[in-house]
Symmetry: C2
Subunit: 360 residues, 2 copies
């Protein structure tokens, strides 16, 4: 075991703050990702919080401010569970960095994502108790961490529209995969916002603020935004990220792998994001001239990715496996990774390609 109870096979991009992604081989173990293998995206040191003295403050545009203990949350509200995929907005950034370097950003491969079963209560239940006022259009979350990336440093924060905040899938979570939530994943309580970028699932939650406008802290107002390729990050520059865009990648075989010629099983994941689901995954061995449909595996519900597999017959030689997912709006992924390059390296959802060699 690594630090924070993580397996030794994680790819650690940064020790402090801790940033590590899951290897594709570990993702391929199943549609649910083991907690010990689950990716971590941190912006500050993991705060030490005593659950017994932890309080959740709910304030802003509400009829009634709240100041709640963990015991109250557990006793006053019905416990719920959701299986949801989290995905960092920087997932697959390495593909963009291969086009042109992105200094200061972690070279995430396809493992800055994972799927877990989350246990807690609905944010909606807490909001109902507080009573959002009519002009409360956004619900902000503030963590207990200290993030030196901002000047002066500030806790991580972000917001979602109140309409999303009131939906039953948005939870305040203290359990992950049937066990108590670990400190590195946000204990004692984190937010989980299914369908949104991981940055909205704020860890070490301390404060919920109902607001008239989106969160104006550094991480939502400056950082997690998609800039045009020739633009510069700055307050309000670019498009705020929120809903996850349709994405997919190959988990097996690995890029550069040598396999035995003949039937080869190709496996991967596809995630529709937002409120959409994965409707189809196509695989091509001839650069997109012909496509075959992969089998979609375990359906873990509307907030989770789909794993998929297909068996292809490979003659000895070099091959490129090209994949495209389709969502329930019949939208598919863009082709050209280079054309998706952006200064912060977010939302690389280009069709994945892996090059392999088959030997007789």
């Amino acid at each position: 075991m690594n630090r924070y109870g993580k397996r030794a096979d994680l790819i650690v991009h940064e020790q402090q703050p801790f940033n590590a992604e899951t290897r594709v081989a570990a993702l391929a173990e199943g549609a649910l990702t083991a907690t010990s293998a689950f990716y971590v995206r941190g912006h500050g040191a993991v705060p030490e919080i005593d659950p017994a003295s932890w309080r959740l403050r709910v304030h802003g545009l509400v009829e009634r401010e709240l100041d709640l203990s963990l015991a109250t949350l557990r006793e006053a509200f019905r416990e719920r569970e959701v299986t949801a995929t989290l995905q960092c907005a920087g997932n697959r950034r390495a593909g963009l960095m291969a086009v042109r370097d992105i200094p200061g950003e972690a070279p995430w491969g396809p493992g800055a994502t994972g799927t877990a079963t989350w246990t807690g209560i609905t944010l909606a239940d807490v909001l109902t108790l507080a009573g959002p006022l009519e002009d409360g259009a956004h619900v902000g979350f503030v963590g207990a961490d200290t993030c030196p990336e901002a000047t002066p440093d500030q806790p991580f924060g972000g917001s979602i529209p109140v309409e999303k905040a009131c939906r039953p899938e948005v939870l305040l979570v203290w359990g992950m995969n049937g066990e108590p939530l670990q400190p590195v994943h946000g204990a004692p309580v984190r937010v989980v916002v299914p369908g949104y970028i991981g940055a909205r699932s704020v860890k070490w939650l301390e404060r919920i603020e109902v607001r008239s406008s989106p969160w104006d802290g550094y991480f939502q107002h400056v950082v997690y935004r998609l800039l045009p390729e020739d633009a510069t990050a700055g307050p309000g520059a670019g498009m705020p990220l929120g809903l996850v865009a349709l994405n997919a990648d190959v988990l097996s075989p690995a890029d550069g792998e040598t396999v035995a010629a003949g039937p080869v099983e190709v496996r991967g994941y596809a995630f529709a994001g937002g409120e959409r689901h994965v409707a189809r995954v196509d695989v091509s061995l001839d650069g997109g001239a012909h496509w075959s449909q992969a089998e979609l595996l375990d359906d873990l519900g509307r907030w989770a990715w789909r794993h998929w597999r297909i068996t292809v017959d490979l003659a000895p030689g070099e091959h490129e496996i090209l994949v495209r997912a389709w969502d329930s709006s019949a939208a598919t992924q863009p082709e050209d990774e280079a054309a998706l390059w952006n200064p912060k390296g977010y939302v690389n959802n280009a069709r994945p390609r892996v090059r392999i060699r088959a030997v007789a």
Copy 2:
């Protein structure tokens, strides 16, 4: 005026059933599309219905069957309005037919779409009166038309998930752009399902059926589905269409047009579909190597497209204008129109290109 009160400049693909699209010049007149220019996609003759004797039957998995007159609908429920873009799933099919012919389907250009203000009542209000039962997962709509395309002929029908059916934007409509709904657009009452393909906005509504499964009539179970390129249409084959995929096209200048060199205004539309909004529109004059951001024009609310414009400086010579829209999940359109070809010619949402010549 053409038949059905339509302007003479519509492009008529078929007289019976009447199928006609709006010219791009007419779409460019404004973000709201004039009723006299609005596209029509019919599957049967326009039925003649006496509003005074018209009844709406609501049945299936409901606590209470309803049989309502138009007068009751008008008196019993609060009138609502929504501005929404409708788009035929076959919009821009001509681009796919240029790749490979699609016999028996109309060669729709980019004008099988338009935006209007719709007036009526919410479907949710009617459903509340009927009381959907717990296993009522889908809400089906049946029109009064007779569609010879099915064997034996049948009225047009389709369904949406009950969750969508209960949202406030889904209306039963009797007004369009401030005037009574015209027969060719579904009078006395049609459904309008914002964010979904036009085929769910069933015209000449007669019957609403709450069901446990999606509509199994010909037009949803066989026709409006996205097939893999080598597949054959059949019951349940392919992916059911529903949510509209992100799309865009150029309205001015027209493909093949000759313009004066110098500053040229480029205009178009972009529509995110589903619950997403258009976040950005990029325009390139060098095949996608560099992109500039267009200005997004009138915001008519979350269910309407965005018109956009940008002024580009054109030297004398041949130019290709390439466009890509982005939605609020930071997803963009696929590049390659040829790779989107499918046997029924649906959902061509490739990045649009127009070729123009600038002269000094």
